[in-house]
Structures are given as structure tokens and as C-alpha cells.
């Protein structure tokens, strides 16, 4: 009887502790969730003024009817609904001034790019970000974010999002290069500002050693020294860098997607960004990997696992083979 009581007691206490831990974790995730909306509204409110005015004044259907009045705006400045105006007129194509896309270059998005981009945006993005890209309760406002941010999120396959989680994951890209540029053009045409797509043309001639040193100081703290990535607090994570393209590396540095801090030109100069791009795409992605299988580049955890499981395990089997089993 006594022992039974004891086991019951221990069982109950075990359940109590497990329940406590669950409550703790729930509390934690709750506090995170309650934080996120605040975070969103505060960080995107800067752009909200224009966004709100756009959504109230016009939807695609209404804007076609008001096309004539708005057509004047398009030529002089960025307007949200310039494309819904009378498209057939060739004059307007000529007058159209697209947004700047690239840093240090005068290339502007063409009328057709913006137009195509709007179609793609309506198909794949508008359901969350809103028809005017001004955001909704589940997605942030994109107006004024600039080309680099949009290009990064779409070209890494993170957007469109299949599953709304804390931090989107890298997926196969849904669009072609040209289509991505169309979407970038369209979103950038909505408002000026934001970060232009960084110019990394000269990155191959910059110093890889300089890049390695900069990487150790600025990036390894989250992405790990091998670029394998790792979990950060509260479900966020630093992704692996092994699939990033040169352009994406530079865009991520300049725009700071998700939890990543943003490194503006005052922190890292353009040539430093180029060195980092070179180190990530060469030193990290194609390391001088002497010594065999790298086991995911996550260091001693994998090494200990292999050492114990394969090394000691195999030798124990060897002992079992050599010895007597009875």
C-alpha cells in the first residue's frame, strides 16, 4: 500500500512538473505573440500614412474610373494607381518614369515591368499584403520598402509564404528572375525610398581575407563560423548561408530581413560588403574542405555523435564479435 501511495505521489508530481513546463512554454509563446503586433504596427507606421490614404481613396476597380484625373500624377511622381489608368495610350508609356532599382545606376523599371509586376502581385501577394501593398493584419506594409527588400524575400523563395510562422523559411523560388524584377518594380513604384539593390559587380576582385575577418566579427555570432546557421531565441533562427546568391547576401546585409540587424553604409562600406559577399559565396559555400565529410558543419555536436555512435559503437560491436556472448 505504502509503495503504491508513493508511486502515485511521484506520478502526480511528475505530471505537475510537466504541466508547469507546458504552461511556461505557453506563457513564453503568448508573450511573443502579444509582442509581435506591437512590433509590426510600430515599425510600419512610418509608411502607413500614405498607405491608408491609398486604400481609402481607391481600389483597383474604382481607380479605373478615376484614371483620367490620376494620370497626371503618374508622370511626375510615384502614385499607387497609375497603372490602372488608360493603359492603351502610348503617350503615357513615354511619359512614365519608373522607380530606380539599382544602387549607383540610372536604370529605371519600365512601364511593362511595373504592369507585369502588378499582375503578379495581385495573383500571389495581394491576398495578404493587400491590393495596394499596404499590409493587413497578417502581413506588413510594403510601400516604400525599396527594391532590395522585395527582391530578397521573393528571390529566396521565402515569399509567397505558404505557412504563416514566426520566421519564413527558404523555399524553391516561385518566379523567374524577370518576374521577380517585375514584382520589385511594381512595389518600388508605389512610393520612393527604401534600399536599392546593392551593386556587387566588383565583388570578385575584393579581398577574401578581409571578408573572412569581417564575417567573424559581424556575422558568425548568429550564423555560426561555418555559416551553417542556428536557432536564436523564441523560435527565430539564423538561416544557413550555404544557398545564398551573391546578390542575396548583399541585400540581406543592407536590408536586415527578419531578425537580422541592418548594416547601412555607415557600418559596412560598399567594398566591405563586397568582401563579405566574396567570403560567403566562396570561403563559406565552397570551403577548402580537406579532411572528408563535414557532417553539416555544426562542429563538436556532430563530431561527438559520430565519435560515440560510429567510433565507440563500431568498436563495441567488434568486441562483441571477438568476444564470447554466452
Amino acid at each position: 500500500m505504502n509503495s503504491k501511495k508513493k508511486t502515485v505521489k511521484t506520478f502526480v508530481s511528475v505530471i505537475a512538473v510537466v504541466a508547469l513546463s507546458l504552461i511556461f512554454s505557453l506563457l513564453e509563446s503568448n508573450s511573443y505573440n502579444s509582442n509581435t503586433p506591437n512590433f509590426r504596427t510600430s515599425s510600419y507606421s512610418a509608411n502607413n500614412v500614405s498607405a491608408v490614404s491609398q486604400t481609402t481613396s481607391s481600389t483597383p476597380t474604382t481607380s479605373t474610373s478615376t484614371s483620367v484625373s490620376s494620370s497626371v500624377k503618374e508622370t511626375s511622381s510615384f502614385g499607387s494607381n497609375h497603372l490602372n489608368s488608360n493603359v492603351k495610350s502610348d503617350n503615357k508609356k513615354k511619359k512614365f518614369v519608373g522607380p530606380l532599382l539599382y544602387q549607383g545606376s540610372n536604370v529605371r523599371a519600365t512601364y511593362n515591368q511595373v504592369k507585369e509586376g502588378q499582375t503578379l502581385f495581385d495573383e500571389s501577394c495581394a491576398s495578404c499584403h493587400g491590393a495596394q501593398a499596404s499590409g493587413s493584419d497578417r502581413a506588413p506594409n510594403l510601400v516604400g520598402l525599396g527594391p532590395a527588400t522585395v527582391q530578397f524575400w521573393v528571390s529566396t523563395g521565402r515569399m509567397p509564404l505558404s505557412n504563416p510562422i514566426i520566421q519564413p523559411i527558404r523555399k524553391p523560388v516561385k518566379f523567374t528572375q524577370a518576374q521577380i524584377l517585375d514584382i520589385v518594380s511594381y512595389v518600388s513604384s508605389l512610393a520612393p525610398g527604401g534600399v536599392l539593390i546593392p551593386n556587387i559587380k566588383g565583388y570578385n576582385s575584393s579581398s577574401i581575407a578581409n571578408g573572412a575577418s569581417l564575417f567573424d566579427i559581424n556575422c558568425a555570432g548568429c550564423h555560426t563560423i561555418t555559416g551553417a546557421g542556428d536557432a536564436l531565441a523564441s523560435g527565430a533562427y539564423a538561416p544557413s548561408l550555404h544557398q545564398a546568391t551573391p546578390e542575396q547576401v548583399a541585400e540581406a546585409i543592407r536590408t536586415g530581413p527578419a531578425n537580422m540587424p541592418r548594416f547601412n553604409p555607415g557600418v559596412l562600406t560598399n567594398s566591405q560588403v563586397n568582401s563579405l559577399v566574396k567570403y560567403v559565396t566562396q570561403g563559406i559555400q565552397k570551403p577548402d574542405n580537406a579532411g572528408g565529410w563535414d557532417m553539416g558543419g555544426i562542429g563538436p555536436v556532430a563530431e561527438g555523435f559520430i565519435g560515440l555512435l560510429i567510433g565507440v559503437g563500431l568498436l563495441m560491436l567488434g568486441a562483441f564479435w571477438v568476444g564470447d556472448r554466452q
Binding site: 509563446s29 548568429c222 563560423i225 577548402d288 563538436p300 565507440v312 563495441m316 568486441a319 568476444g323
Partner: protein
């Protein structure tokens, strides 16, 4: 001298020419006359080794230590134990032109430049991981079978000391290349040393030669400890470990013909020597394969350690993992008593290993005190024979394993895509609960195994269920196979004889549930079996 003697033997005339055996015999005779080897040799060659496979686990550690010594000598020829800074001019492009320490640059060069350098370095590192893993497994064997009991307490203490020295030695070796990850480990160790109340700061400053990172004396100091001091002590203790083993003779599992006063097994010569030699090749082979095909500690990717650089996902080697895990799950509590402050690193990184290793060392005496057992024991206990010890051992093992797993919180969170905070809280709680659950299960398991007796691990004898045309069922035993035991016949219940009364009763019951209706089950059954009619055959286990 021995050579001359051999020459002399070769020159002998064909008549006098001896066989090869004879030649060896006369050489050994010559040596015996001068050194008296025969006596010791006889003890050595007649040493009996029990054949059970678990007795070979310690040998994994022994032979990986041999690999460590040989590869270590090679590495020490190229390694420069100095923190002096220089500009790297080697082959690895991302480092070229940067300022690195001589220790780091020499390790990178020996990895990427020296022929066989990387293979030997990787073998050295893998051998270290396997050395400590084998010690842990060997220690489990000794613990769970009670081989540490009187008169072998001293050898147990030597073994635990070897484990501690092995961990320290491994940590020093891990720290020597002066790369980013090992430097992070050193930084941690400085803080841990500093956290010892009162003496901590003085101790840390003394070891490092000033405040971190010190005046550059730490690398030469660690080098001397790693290549000279600790290996010498380990070698001496291994000698004492094996010497005591020969002196006290092996333990053995109980069995036919095995008593407290004999040892049954294979003698060193002829027999065990070949077996153990073969096993040595196996150990060296596995280590060489790992060294050749699995990359370990690619320090050229990690870069030179500088105190202001840090990487995420830094772990120590596995044998330090439980201490790292303890540090990770320790809440940020700090205690202050007047001017003495105890930082929170003290509890997981100083107090915990202190307690654990003291319990390990004192365990034979603790157990003898509890059980009041003062007899000599040369026969081993199976783990199930001593449920309490097995439960304590399983619980302790689980506790250390949980701490060990906690050192990979970030990796687990990343690979399982769970929030890091949840993983951390899981370990903060589970580390203290799961060991008790495992201990309780282990205890229960032992008792059940005892109850099962010799049946444990054997299969039940199959019963064949027959059904005849009338729809009646008969149970028949299958032919006995090796290792079978009876479920119905011998062990569980006596078979009930089917009397007419019982048969009637059964039939009534059968009628009630609507199965079968025959009155004379017995007779029918006999007839059925005699006639050899084909029924429907159902074979089922039990």
C-alpha cells in the same frame, strides 16, 4: 649481444642447426640468464582472460591511447607552442595576409600543408573522442557488474582518475590550436576558474599570467601539460591499472565451473594475445577510417581566436559536453555573502564536477557502507541481481546524459524547429525528473528479469492451434527448438485434464456463446488425431 648470438646460431653446422623455435629458445634463454625474464614471462603468458565480450571494452581505451601517443608525437614535431603573432602566408586563401598566432598558423599548416598532417591530426582527435567514450563504456561495465567491490577499490579509483585526467588532457588538446572555438573554450575556463570563491581570481591570473587573455604564457603552459605532464601520469596510471589487474586477477561472470577462487578463460599465450592483437588492429583501423573520411575540427574555417570575435553554436568536445550543458541550463542566480560573491558559473562548472567525481571515487566505499558487505568478490553480479545499484547507475547515467544533451540546445532547437527557450526550459526541468523515471524503470526491470529467471531473453515455445471439421479447437505444442521454453506445460500452469464432466461444462459454456456443440470432445479429438484427417492448421505464438 643478442644479435651476435643469432649470428653464431646461423653459423652452426647443419648437424647442430636448430629449428626456428630452438633459435628463439636459445635467445630467450640468453636473455633469461641475464635479466630473469622467464619468471615474469610465465606469469604474463599464463594470465587468464575471461572470454566475455564486455571485458574487451577497456582495451578499446588502451589501444586508442596507443594511437594518441603515436599520432601525438607526430603532431608535436610540427606544432609551435607560442602565442606570438605573425602574418599568415600559407595556402589557405581566406587567411592569407591576416595576423595569426604561431600556434594557430602552425596547426593550419600541419593540416593543409604537411604530408599526412591532416590525417594524423584527425586521427588524434577521433582517437581522443573514442578514448574517453571507451573509458565511459568500460566504467559502466565495471559499475553495473559490481567489479569495483573489494578487493578492487583501488583499481576503480585509478580508473576514475584516468577518466578525469583524460577529460583534462582532451580539453587541453582542444585548446592548443588557438582557433576561434578553442579560444572561446579558454575564455569560458578563465571565467569558471575565476568563479571559485576567494582564490578564484588569483588562480585564474596565475594560470593565464594576468587578466584574460593573459601575457601569452597560457599556450606554452598548456602544451607542456598536454604533451608531457598529463600523458606521463596517464601512462603510469595505465601501468598501475594493468599491473593491479594481473596481480588481483580478472573478475568473471558466474557460470558452470566458475567460482570465487578460479578464473575461467583463455590464457595470454597461446590464445588471448592473438585475439587482443587483432582487436588492436580493429581499433586502429576504425580510428584511421574516421580520420580519413570524417572531418573533425576544421580550424582553418574557424579562424584565429581574438577575444572580440565569437561564433554561435560553439560546443566543447563531447566529454566536456555535460559541463557545458550544466552551464547552459543554470539559471542566473548569484549569491553574495558580505564581500564574497559566488558567481553562478561556480555551481555547474566547479561544484557539479567536484561532487560527481567525488561520488565516483568514493562509490565502492559508499556501497560497502550501505550494504555492510566486507567480503571479497571475484564473481560478478549481473545488473539485475542488484536492482538498487543498477537503478542508481541508470539514474546517474541519465542525469549526465541529459546534461550532455543540454549542451546542444541550440542545435536541437534548430534541427527540430522548436523555440530555443522551450528546449532550454525542457532541459531545466527534465534533467532532474527523467533520471528518477529511468531509475524507477531500471529497478522494476531488474525485478522482472529476476522473476523471469532463465526464461529472460528466450522465446516462448510455439503452440499450434488445430481446428477440426466440427469446428473444435485443439492446442498442440510445436516441436521444441533450441532456447524454447514452454508456456503451457512446464512453467506457467499445469495442463488441465479434460474429464467428461469438465468437457460437458465447457460445452455448456460454448453453447452459451454459440461456439461448438459436440458432446464428446475428448473422444472426437482422439479419433481426429488418430485418423490423421486434415484439419485447418493455425499456428500462433502462445
Amino acid at each position: 649481444m643478442a644479435k651476435m648470438n643469432l649470428e653464431k646460431l646461423r653459423k652452426q653446422s647443419p648437424k647442430e642447426k636448430k629449428t626456428l623455435n630452438g633459435q628463439i629458445g636459445s635467445v630467450s634463454e640468453w636473455l633469461d640468464d641475464r635479466l630473469g625474464l622467464a619468471k615474469g614471462g610465465r606469469v604474463f603468458f599464463n594470465k587468464i582472460f575471461p572470454d566475455h565480450w564486455s571485458f574487451m571494452l577497456g582495451e578499446i581505451a588502451l589501444y586508442s591511447f596507443v594511437v594518441l601517443l603515436v599520432t601525438g608525437v607526430f603532431l608535436s614535431l610540427y606544432y609551435v607552442p607560442s602565442g606570438a603573432l605573425e602574418i599568415y602566408h600559407g595556402t589557405y586563401a581566406p587567411l592569407r595576409g591576416t595576423v595569426v598566432s604561431a600556434a594557430y598558423s602552425s596547426t593550419v599548416n600541419l593540416s593543409l600543408h604537411v604530408r599526412f598532417g591532416l590525417l594524423v591530426r584527425q586521427m588524434h582527435h577521433w582517437a581522443a573522442d573514442i578514448f574517453l567514450g571507451a573509458i565511459a563504456v568500460h566504467m559502466c561495465r565495471i559499475f553495473f557488474t559490481g567489479a569495483f567491490r573489494k578487493p578492487r577499490e583501488l583499481n576503480w579509483i585509478i580508473g576514475v582518475t584516468l577518466l578525469i585526467l583524460g577529460i583534462v588532457e582532451g580539453y587541453l588538446g582542444y585548446s592548443l590550436p588557438d582557433d576561434l572555438i578553442s579560444g572561446t573554450g579558454l575564455r569560458l575556463m578563465f571565467s569558471v576558474t575565476e568563479s571559485i570563491p576567494i582564490v578564484g581570481t588569483h588562480l585564474a591570473f596565475w594560470i593565464f599570467g594576468g587578466n584574460y587573455p593573459g601575457n601569452g604564457s597560457i599556450i606554452p603552459r598548456m602544451f607542456i601539460a598536454h604533451v608531457l605532464l598529463i600523458p606521463a601520469i596517464i601512462t603510469a596510471l595505465i601501468g598501475a591499472h594493468l599491473g593491479l589487474l594481473v596481480k588481483q586477477k580478472h573478475t568473471q561472470f558466474p557460470g558452470p565451473g566458475r567460482t570465487e577462487k578460479n578464473v575461467v578463460g583463455t590464457p595470454m599465450w597461446p590464445g588471448f594475445m592473438f585475439k587482443t592483437q587483432g582487436f588492436m588492429f580493429l581499433v586502429v583501423g576504425v580510428i584511421a577510417l574516421l580520420g580519413a573520411f570524417a572531418q573533425i575540427n576544421p580550424i582553418w574555417l574557424y579562424g584565429q581566436y581574438l577575444p572580440y570575435k565569437v561564433s554561435y553554436a560553439v560546443q566543447p568536445d563531447w566529454y566536456m559536453g555535460w559541463l557545458d550543458g550544466a552551464l547552459r541550463i543554470m539559471p542566473s542566480w548569484e549569491f553574495q555573502y558580505h564581500s564574497i560573491m559566488i558567481p553562478n558559473q561556480f555551481f555547474p562548472a566547479v561544484l557539479l564536477p567536484g561532487i560527481v567525481f567525488n561520488i565516483f571515487i568514493l562509490w565502492p566505499f559508499i556501497e560497502a557502507k550501505i550494504t555492510k558487505d566486507k567480503k571479497e568478490h571475484h564473481l560478478l553480479e549481473r545488473p539485475r541481481d542488484n536492482p538498487m545499484r543498477t537503478a542508481i547507475g541508470a539514474g546517474t547515467f541519465t542525469f549526465l546524459f541529459m546534461l550532455f544533451s543540454a549542451s546542444a540546445t541550440d542545435v536541437l532547437a534548430n534541427y527540430l524547429t522548436i523555440s530555443l527557450n522551450i528546449v532550454l526550459w525542457f532541459f531545466r526541468i527534465a534533467t532532474y525528473i527523467i533520471p528518477f523515471i529511468v531509475a524507477a524503470i531500471a529497478y522494476r526491470f531488474c525485478i522482472e528479469l529476476q522473476r523471469a529467471g532463465d526464461k529472460a531473453g528466450k522465446r516462448k515455445r510455439t503452440n499450434i492451434v488445430w481446428r477440426n471439421e466440427q469446428g473444435e479447437y485443439y492446442i498442440e505444442k510445436s516441436p521444441a527448438r533450441e532456447g524454447d521454453f514452454d508456456v503451457i506445460g512446464e512453467t506457467e500452469e499445469e495442463p488441465i485434464e479434460l474429464t467428461p464432466e469438465l468437457s460437458e461444462e465447457l460445452n455448456k459454456k460454448a453453447d452459451l456463446i454459440g461456439v461448438g456443440s459436440s458432446a464428446a470432445t475428448n473422444e472426437l479429438a482422439e479419433k481426429f488425431l488418430e485418423s490423421g484427417e486434415d484439419g485447418v492448421k493455425h499456428v500462433s505464438r502462445d
